[in-house]
Symmetry: C2
Subunit: 323 residues, 2 copies
């Protein structure tokens, strides 16, 4: 049995709890929280500990799955906890991945553990697709589209606008752009041409909706480079129609071998982004345990993992049934 | 530079020649043939040798890409040539993969070489998708559809019917079945419900077309389990409209994490099946060279290969740009 611990118990941590409990080759040793541990009640009844108790679990856990956020939690936590345990995280700030990798690599090489970073669906499965597609079709172009789905970062950004009580933001791929790529036209696409942003906003009573809409649409980085639509709705409607966290997207590669054209596509359609991400983290936790048992250490990414390590099936089964 | 040799110079070998010549980190040392070497003229002007000269190239080639057929060539060739070189083959008789793996593994472990078997798009990229999808979404069902595309094995089978001068067979996925899977209905599908077979046949002058059609439709293994349509066309029309070897297909996994449903899909649309397969073989030849240089030997499959080895880019570039 692979012994798994969960650090952080939000949506992602709850998803990992479900995935680990469903895996026949894994055992959940507990959830670790920065909060008062008496205040945290796990869905499956898994034990709850304070992160201050982590040192007591050295030798009792094979992998810690880190379920904190990329903005402030993971840049500190992964390099810290990989000193004691193999870790898997979902660090997803693309621009800062090399920096995160270097910090985790130094700590992991010192401890002899594996720190598998940036696991999920993007980065993660989409990275696998980009890597594989580029290698087998070197003369071509990559396209990644996200959505239709809820962006939690953009929803949070809207909530920070004065007068906004709650909000949900959907990232939506532009169908004409997707169609042009699928037709092999190899278009050069601007940010605006690839995605639109749909915002569902609950305003505080008496708030100036025109100002809210303007502030959202003009927000740099988040919205100003996109065609953005803002819909004001009631709190009741938000809870009724926008409670879920669906997401998805696709990676396309359009290219050629000489005169012959080829199109490769990988797509996801997810009812729950955090639950699916948790399921991916859990499969890669299995790989981290196996790679470390095979003598490997240091920071790793999905590019380092032989796919056989993701499965709980033996190799003979895999080549007979899946190859 | 990775030094590559090609054994066998049909459609697949010609595709590998093109792919290797396009790769900046590879050098094509020559094409090896069982035919009279004077009779073989390569497209790029690459040197042609007899397979009997292979022993002279020990230490002068890093990987031999085997471009023979799965029926009779590869079961003998791979285990034989892996005694001298790292090899990559496209062995695609799914039922016999375990047997082929065992034979290649024994020979490769003795020689200290790598024999990377069953590389292409199915087995190969589709196997990667099935493996990855099953691991990250364990509660679900797999579906593999092929086509619309030319099946060379089925085209050959039709050509063996008395009175048939030439033929082309297209494998076509049944749209209703694909739609049901994409909707998350998890249908149980028979062979007949998944694919149809379209045959374009040039009959010899005076041949009994009704008998030919009957013999095709009743042919066991190849056609009797499918809804098959037979179109008699002129040789001219065959050459004009059916000269290419397009293919494609998709791997779907439909599953759930608890109550939330998810759909994963990987698809290919290829203008030239042999050229794309050749491009995949070439990328995996790079991986075989790197894995052997890292000290690994024995039979390997796409499940053993860390994806980073497929690329000619360095790791820093990969994590900064593709992760």
């Amino acid at each position: 049995m692979i012994r798994i611990g969960i650090i952080g118990y939000g949506n992602l941590g709850k998803g990992v709890e479900k995935a680990v409990n469903a895996a026949e080759d894994m055992e959940l040793i507990g959830v670790f929280t920065r909060r008062n541990k008496e205040s945290v009640h796990t869905i499956s009844g898994a034990a709850v500990y304070s992160v201050n108790e982590l040192e007591n679990f050295v030798g009792k856990a094979d992998v810690m799955i880190l379920c904190g956020g990329s903005a402030t939690d993971l840049p500190k936590q992964t390099a810290q906890y990989v000193k004691l345990f193999n870790t898997v995280d979902s660090f997803d700030t693309h621009a800062k991945i090399p920096e995160h990798f270097a910090a985790v690599d130094a700590a992991a090489k010192e401890s002899g553990k594996i720190g598998l970073i940036s696991v999920g669906w993007d980065p993660g499965l989409f990275s696998v697709a980009r890597m594989l597609f580029g290698a087998v079709l070197p003369d071509g172009n990559d396209y990644t589209f996200w959505g239709r789905g809820v962006s939690q970062g953009h929803s949070d950004a809207i909530r920070r606008v004065a007068g906004v009580k709650d909000a949900r933001q959907y990232t939506v791929p532009v169908q004409a752009a997707v169609d042009a790529v699928r037709k092999g036209e190899n278009p050069v696409l601007t940010t605006r041409e690839k995605h639109t942003r749909e915002c569902y906003v609950v305003a505080e009573e008496g708030a100036d909706k025109a100002r809210i809409e303007r502030e959202i649409k003009e927000m740099p980085n988040y919205f100003s480079d996109y065609d953005t639509t803002v819909h004001f709705i009631s709190e009741e409607e938000l809870l009724k129609n926008h409670a879920g966290l669906p997401h998805g997207g696709f990676v396309l590669r359009s290219g050629a071998t000489g005169e012959n054209k080829h199109l490769l596509e990988f797509s996801l359609k997810l009812d729950s982004n955090p639950e699916f991400t948790a399921s991916v983290l859990t499969a890669y936790a299995r790989a981290a345990a196996k790679m470390n048992a095979a003598g490997e250490c240091g920071a790793k990414t999905v590019f380092d993992v032989p796919l056989k390590y993701l499965s709980d099936k033996d190799y003979g089964y895999l080549i007979a049934h899946l190859l």
